[in-house]
């Protein structure tokens, strides 16, 4: 195929909404949504603060299969309130993961896929968002004992805050070039640490440190994929087939402490230093 023909055959995953993304990943005809928007389980906190709610609170939970394997998908809608998690959206993800773990204890090997486009806690529901994210962490660690939990950060919102920790707990992480993965949003770092430490308007700088390509080159994610529905679907399917990873990234404290001990923390850091420290020189 020529380059332009290839381009014509590509379908952007990033441009899809949360529900379309979940449908695109599941085997054809298997998508079944739980707590669909017509049930209107909405945020009890937004309206009273004068913020318009969304019928699904920005989270889509769908059951189905991928490559024939039983899967539950939790997809966050990045366009609604920056993908922030409030009480309802957070409970949807936590509850779905809890039930998936229960499935496994009862003999059904349900896996989970998390489509993460989120700034983290929704500040209008602050402490309930934070509590829900703690529940999500707990549920990922629980489910991960039995079956893989695959995290996908496609972009364009990226994955930040408490949900970046959730990403770090996943069995596998898949990102695109459009993805960013980091604990603190650029604005907040600039607010807390100053412009010299972190210029939130310098997009190339931010991507060079937290973008998908850099995260992959530093070994902080497992797959780096083009923004293409078919390719992402195939990679997610492969990861699910693989079963549990030999070594869980979040369980490598000794390794990371050794690496950090080798770092000269005095000078300000650049992307190449991170790649070298975490992966060695890569061509």
């Amino acid at each position: 195929m020529t380059d332009s023909a290839q381009l014509l055959h590509k379908h952007s995953f990033v441009e899809l909404g949360a529900r379309q993304r979940a449908k695109a990943l599941l085997d054809a005809g298997t998508f079944r949504e739980l707590l669909d928007p017509f049930q209107r389980v909405m945020s009890p906190w937004l309206s009273r603060q004068g913020v318009v709610p969304q019928a699904d609170d920005g989270v889509v939970i769908a059951k189905g299969s991928i490559g024939g394997l039983p899967v539950v998908i939790a997809a966050i809608e990045g366009a609604f309130q920056g993908g922030s998690l409030g009480e309802v959206g957070g409970a949807k993800i936590a509850g779905a993961l809890e039930l998936a773990a229960e499935d496994n204890r009862n003999g059904t090997p349900t896996r989970a896929v998390l489509l993460l486009e989120t700034g983290g806690v929704r500040l209008q529901e602050a402490n309930l968002g934070l509590a829900a994210i703690a529940d999500i962490h707990a549920a990922i660690v629980d489910l991960r004992q039995y079956q893989p939990v695959v995290g996908v950060v496609a972009g364009s919102v990226g994955c930040f805050g408490g949900m970046s920790i959730a990403a770090g707990l996943c069995s596998y992480l898949l990102v695109t070039q459009e993805a960013r993965l980091g604990l603190n949003g650029p604005q907040v770092i600039e607010q807390e640490a100053g412009l010299e430490e972190y210029d939130s308007r310098d997009r190339p700088f931010i991507w060079s440190l937290t973008g998908g390509e850099q995260r992959f080159a530093s070994g902080l994610v497992d797959r780096f994929v083009a923004d293409d529905v078919a390719q992402i679907q195939q990679q997610v399917s492969e990861l699910l087939q693989q079963g549990l990873p030999a070594q869980q990234r979040s369980r490598q404290a000794d390794l990371f402490l050794q690496r950090l001990a080798r770092l000269d923390a005095e000078p300000q850091i650049d992307p190449a230093t991170v790649r070298e420290l975490y992966q060695g020189e890569r061509s």
Partner: protein, 267 residues
């Protein structure tokens, strides 16, 4: 006068009197093995280290070394107790102003370091260790998620300086495009947005709140009261499950229960 809180250190020192310090961890972590009544426990606190190699983590913030260090401090207990019928309890003493905000931190994957800590605490809980979080100061955002929020039981001391939140007021105001005054006004009527411990308690996330006489420097009566409460919490964990379901049920967190019920019905 220090610019950072000494509460975590004070309570760690008071509770771990006579306990054996654990070596080989970052200086910003205080870890010791001791007993609480007749229970073997490991005490863990994150404290300020003015000489921290990472300059953005010198005031007690949870940064790269702290995240991975906590992961190790907890994981070592899981490994050591793996064949023991009675698992040591973990007491997380919480006084953490925030996660570390900095370029080095983001570049080196602080999110992964915090995931390491949350991972270990969660696995300890699943392995049958009682994990108790004792809030003596701030418990903010990512720092709390890494150090304490995976606990089976959370106990807070009743004091204006004990607060839980997702973000500091100035940053929260900037992100939500509000003034700090507007934010405070909203917090007064929306419990999950408040910074005070009573509003937080109304969400059902705390097992107990305890008044003390001197939160900065605990008196012997304070110490006795907290020690007793920690012991009761450990016993309570033993009598129930290993998950976090005991945090559900408050009317201010009703939607969290309702969503779970509906999901189960439609699963």
């Amino acid at each position: 006068m220090s610019s950072y809180s000494l509460r975590g250190l004070s309570w760690f020192n008071a509770l771990s009197d006579g306990a054996k310090p654990v070596e080989g961890l970052p200086a910003s972590l205080k870890v010791a093995d001791g007993v609480l009544g007749d229970q073997p426990v490991r005490f863990i606190a994150v404290v300020a280290d003015p000489d921290n190699r990472f300059v953005r983590a010198r005031n007690g913030e949870v940064g790269l070394l702290e995240g991975w260090g906590l992961a190790k401090a907890v994981d070592d207990v899981i490994t050591a107790d793996v064949d023991k019928p009675h698992k040591r309890a973990l007491i997380a003493i919480i006084d953490v102003p925030s996660q570390a905000y900095g370029r080095r931190e983001e570049a080196l994957g602080i999110h992964q370091a915090l995931a390491g800590a949350a991972d270990s605490y969660a696995r300890a809980r699943l392995a049958g260790h009682a994990v108790i979080g004792l809030l003596v100061g701030k418990a903010m955002s990512g720092a709390f998620l890494a150090h304490g929020y995976q606990a089976n039981r959370l106990i807070a001391l009743r004091d204006p300086g004990v607060m839980v939140h997702a973000m500091g007021k100035a940053s929260a105001a900037r992100v939500t495009l509000r003034s700090v005054e507007e934010l405070e006004a909203l917090a007064a009527s929306v419990p999950p947005m408040a910074y005070d411990i009573d509003s937080y308690a109304s969400l059902g996330l705390l097992w107990e709140t305890l008044p003390v006489e001197q939160i900065e420097q605990p008196t012997s009566a304070d110490l006795a009261r907290v020690t007793e409460c920690l012991g009761l919490a450990i016993g309570d964990v033993g009598a129930s499950g290993r998950d976090l379901s005991s945090r559900l049920g408050a009317s201010n967190r009703a939607a969290s229960s309702k969503v779970r019920e509906l999901l189960r019905a439609q699963w």
